[in-house]
């Protein structure tokens, strides 16, 4: 794909070019949206909203960076905004019962495939899920996460630690199930 030509054609409003750009990124971006939401329908809503933003703001992309990274950021923004619109989100985000999910330093080997791992991440409380995705996958620092989500940096850290611990416990259990054949029968 000639990215420059594709961008120019998209900016000129050519439907075929816009469709091509969409097709190029939609698969991976739906995976991203899937990680941040609780259902595929929600993920598709976020994807649609995100691509609308991409096309409306494409003139801002000057080509100096990677288009994929730029599109990805828009999707993350859209997903977070979507989550913030959910009423229970702020409650979940500030919810940090230390006794519930103790911090773990375990580092299990991931034998799950991508979708299995994503499904586990999606089972985390939504606050944990968001912070985990932003820090572990997208690479945001806790300071940045704090600013973006409107919480203290420490909250982000603790949320992440507990999300990580919970996830690892699930992965460990899942691995054991897998070894004993329980997982395979599911």
């Amino acid at each position: 794909m000639n990215q420059k030509k594709l961008l120019n054609d998209c900016l000129k409003g050519k439907a075929s070019a816009q469709r091509e750009l969409y097709t190029h990124f939609a698969h991976a971006m739906l995976g991203l949206c899937y990680r941040y939401t609780k259902s595929m329908a929600d993920a598709e809503d976020v994807l649609q909203e995100g691509f609308i933003k991409v096309f409306k703001n494409l003139h801002q992309f000057n080509g100096s960076g990677e288009l994929g990274a730029w599109v990805r950021r828009i999707m993350v923004n859209t997903a977070i905004n979507y989550l913030k619109s959910q009423n229970h989100y702020q409650y979940d985000l500030s919810f940090a019962d230390k006794s519930l999910h103790p911090v773990s330093d375990e580092n299990p080997e991931l034998i799950l495939n991508a979708k299995e791992l994503a499904d586990l991440i999606r089972q985390l409380p939504i606050g944990y899920q968001t912070v985990f995705n932003m820090h572990a996958v997208e690479g945001y620092s806790h300071v940045e996460i704090g600013k973006i989500l409107g919480v203290h940096e420490g909250t982000s850290k603790s949320q992440y630690a507990r999300a990580r611990a919970l996830l690892i416990s699930w992965i460990t259990r899942n691995s054991m199930d897998h070894k004993t054949g329980i997982y395979a029968r599911k």
Binding site: L11, A15, Q18, R19, Y22, A26, H27, A28, L30, G31, Y34, R35, A43, E44, D45, Q48, F51, I52, K53, F55, K56, N57, H59, Q60, F61, N62, G63, S64, G65, E66, L67, A69, W70, R72, R73, V76, N77, T78, N81, Y82, K84, S85, D105, N107, L110, L112, N113, A114, L117, A118, H135, A136, V137, E138, Y140, S141, E144, K147, I148, L149
Partner: protein, 455 residues
């Protein structure tokens, strides 16, 4: 180290996560971006048509009009007797140096018109120096009389309408924030719905650098200058045939030429105009911006006058039927007088970028401005006394103008330069409503805007 290993594994796994979206997603995206385009279309046509109207009016004004200081149409009180009906008298006993300038109208034209219609008609064209006066005479024409003013060979014939009919003057960066129904929040950083700018996009999704974007939506400042030609229009739709006001119709018999006698003024010629000011602007979307500012504007027109006389003369104004002025200029061609108008104006405009180029944007500007006449030395013509005199009472000091321009932008090292033609039309009459001729200011020329850029 172990922690990083876990995150690394998660990241690698998630990099391969993907799903094929349903067809409805693209349908929704496609529908929304087409809808956006459709929304912009009426706005484009609004600007286009307003610009076309102004440009057309400007062309009409520039190409076809013969402007003059007010005179002409009137409704007089005296009814002539029937014997005089439809018998306009064209008396050309004026010594003009250039006979070729005279506009003779065969008397039978009027007679013929009158006979054919049985009723009034008519437009009587009258020689007044090198001007024409036409008047729809309701039922009768009056008589043409010789001007009482005959200094230095300047003599104008004038029209005396004794028929009680009307005369007509013959001379005439913040980026657009997409609506997000599911979000609608405006926070700092990435989660704030702020779309990563091109500058910050290069950092990649996984790096933490450049995530705090500079606001591109703030007001920006620029400087503007204009230079061109100003003139007086009697209206975009050629509204020269306005009726004479009552105070002129009822002029007393003591006026120099007697009741109902109207003199014709000099042609108004275009003059130099310029302006300078400062403005602020803000992007409303990627191609539409709004600007507001403050300008000083100078307009001028030129007229021919006779000698200046420093003595008292009675003139007729709207507020008082007769008032005295202590100095005046005679009607004549002895000298060229420059009418100067100094305005302070507050322009408001919308700029629409017609192309998509960021290096040489073509911008269509359309807007309005409120202007205040700070001072003027312009002369006002009194068609009864046949003199020009200075007065501030006859002007509308508050003006509403409409303007349009096509600007081409060029990037300089530390600024953006925008240059292009501009047309401006005064929607408010320059002289007050009691005048028979509203005299709208018209300007066309070059506009230059300089917008400093931060390095």
């Amino acid at each position: 180290m172990h922690e990083n290993n876990f995150e690394k594994q998660v990241r690698e796994k998630m990099d391969h996560l993907g799903f094929d979206p349903s067809d409805g997603v693209w349908a929704g995206v496609n529908n929304e971006i087409r809808k956006e385009k459709r929304r912009r279309r009426p706005l484009f046509w609004l600007f286009f048509l307003s610009g076309l109207l102004l440009a057309g009016g400007g062309y009409y004004f520039i190409s076809g009009k013969n402007n003059s200081i007010p005179v002409a149409k009137d409704r007089l009180q005296n009814k002539p007797d029937k014997k005089q009906e439809m018998q306009p008298i064209y008396q050309d006993n004026i010594s003009m140096n250039d006979k070729s300038k005279e506009n003779k109208v065969p008397p039978n034209v009027f007679a013929g018109n009158a006979k054919a219609g049985g009723l009034p008609h008519p437009f009587l064209t009258v020689k007044t120096g090198d001007h024409n006066l036409r008047g729809p005479s309701g039922h009768r024409f009056g008589q043409i009389v010789k001007s009482s003013f005959s200094e230095k060979g300047l003599q104008d014939s004038i029209l005396l309408n004794a028929g009680g009919d009307e005369f007509k003057a013959g001379s005439d960066a913040e980026t657009e924030r997409p609506s997000d129904s599911s979000v609608g929040r405006n926070l700092n950083g990435l989660a704030a719905g702020k779309i990563p700018s091109a500058d910050s996009a290069g950092g990649g999704g996984k790096s933490g650098e450049n995530r705090h974007h500079k606001k591109s939506s703030s007001w920006k400042t620029g400087f503007t200058g204009t230079a061109g030609i100003s003139s007086i229009s009697q209206g975009l739709l050629h509204s020269a045939n306005t009726a004479y006001p009552a105070y002129l119709v009822n002029a007393p018999s003591g006026s120099p030429a007697g009741p109902g006698v109207l003199y014709k003024s000099s042609d108004l010629k275009p003059g130099f105009a310029f302006g300078a000011g400062v403005f602020v602007y803000r992007n409303l979307s990627k191609r539409i911006s709004f600007s507001a500012g403050i300008n000083y504007r100078y307009y001028s027109t030129k007229i021919n006058t006779g000698n200046r006389v420093d003595s008292s003369v009675s003139v007729y104004t709207a507020s008082v039927q007769a008032s005295a002025v202590n100095s005046f200029y005679r009607n004549g061609i002895d000298q060229t007088y420059t009418n100067q108008y100094h305005f302070i104006e507050l322009p408001l405009a919308v700029n629409f970028q017609l192309n998509r180029s960021s290096k040489t944007p073509v911008i269509w500007e359309a807007g309005f401005s409120m202007a205040y006449l700070v001072s003027s030395n312009a002369l006002y013509f009194d068609p009864y006394s046949n003199v020009y005199y200075k007065t501030n009472q006859q002007f509308n000091k508050a003006q509403l103008n409409t303007a349009t321009a096509i600007l081409v932008g060029f990037r300089l090292d530390h600024a953006e330069l925008q240059v292009g033609p501009q047309v401006q039309y005064g929607m408010t009459g320059l002289v007050n409503s009691s005048s028979p001729d509203p005299q709208h200011l018209f300007y066309y020329g070059l506009k230059i805007s300089l917008i400093p850029r931060k390095k």
